[in-house]
Subunit: 223 residues, 2 copies
């Protein structure tokens, strides 16, 4: 069997059909609201565990889409997540994405406060953009910082909490989600150990494409 070269758009359409069919076979078809996010994360990872792991506060997807349509920026905890977010999609919406991890001021602030760069970069993020979409794919400490700040009154448009790992990760996502539920902050989290910068970017892209599709019904959407 010789694999052929195909067009990216055709491949994406075929991939979506396969994912939709296999989710149905597994009895894991997601509800329409969350389907674009769940399917895009599976597209990014080829891991159907995410159909069970992803948790949403009620209306979280709609809140993220509305925020993007209003030009709300996305702040990520890694440059890798930032690199994975669709720039043409954001541009269509008049939105943007940014990450403070590599900034010299953040390294200096972390050293001065005796904390991690992940924590210092989140403090910087919410100082600059208190109503942003916060997307955390790597650092559980960043997620714990966001939980503390929400308890202290911060109201981000949406928190995407999907760090990956073996230490403090499971607990950080449970705490973030509980705090978001308590204070009515929209949240999307991947419960358990799995997640990552690629998953954070995939969730952001699902929201961006959904928002862009509302503006242009011919744009690709993942219903």
């Amino acid at each position: 069997m010789t694999p052929q070269h195909h067009l990216p758009a055709d491949i994406e359409r075929t991939s979506l059909s396969i994912i939709t069919a296999e989710l149905a076979e597994l009895g894991l078809t997601p509800p329409p609201e969350t389907a674009p996010v769940v399917k895009r994360v599976i597209h990014t990872t080829a891991d159907f565990d995410y159909a069970k792991n992803l948790r949403f506060t009620p209306g979280a997807v709609a809140a993220g889409v509305a925020a993007l349509r209003a030009g709300t920026p996305i702040v990520t905890d890694t440059n890798m997540a930032l690199a994975g977010i669709t720039k043409p999609g954001l541009k269509k919406l008049g939105s943007s994405a940014l990450c403070y991890m590599a900034e010299p001021e953040v390294a200096a602030a972390a050293k001065a406060a005796g904390t991690t760069r992940a924590v210092a970069s989140m403090h910087r993020a919410v100082a600059e953009h208190p109503g942003a979409i916060l997307a955390v794919g790597n650092a559980p400490t960043a997620l714990l910082t966001i939980a503390e700040l929400i308890e202290a009154g911060l109201r981000p448009a949406l928190v995407i909490g999907v760090p990956v790992g073996f230490v403090n990760v499971v607990e950080s996502k449970e705490r973030l989600f509980a705090v978001c539920e308590t204070y009515g902050v929209p949240a999307i989290a991947a419960m358990g150990r799995k997640g990552g910068s690629n998953v954070a970017a995939a969730i952001c892209n699902a929201l961006v494409y959904s928002a862009a599709e509302m503006l242009d019904p011919t744009a690709r959407g993942w219903k």
Copy 2:
């Protein structure tokens, strides 16, 4: 239970112990040569499937480490993989990482040739750096292009073939691995559907840290 803020180096050490112990429980302890790569990919994904999915040509890890110590550059197929590769680690080795996907010349060449940017960027990569480490985490077409070029005489230092997905991905990795075996080109691939830019970056980082550890025995290594 209140999660605590820990230092990144401590978290990494504890994570490694957990991964090593769980691999042993599963009867999947990797051989010493490939262990740093297998463990770092599991660290990046929290997915123990990679202990079964990752395949190595004999001596592939040693070939990658030797190439990095000689300053051989890494060329990736996405800016996301590029963003995930440790720049301080590469600097210690006098090596570098680069990606041609976003270059206007690559988009123009793809359009002129009626092919994908992924294919055009790989042609550009091997024209500039024929002996590079080629790391493909996204595009099966890039991997098929590399297989064709190896058949035509190209000899990269190492091919990392870990695209993710549902269409042409499984076949592209099988073809790449078979071609590399036939022509004696070192290869590391994630067989099956799973992989991604994060996995490509994790494999590169495992090689970079192993190479750096040889130069500085106090540096962190994942034996």
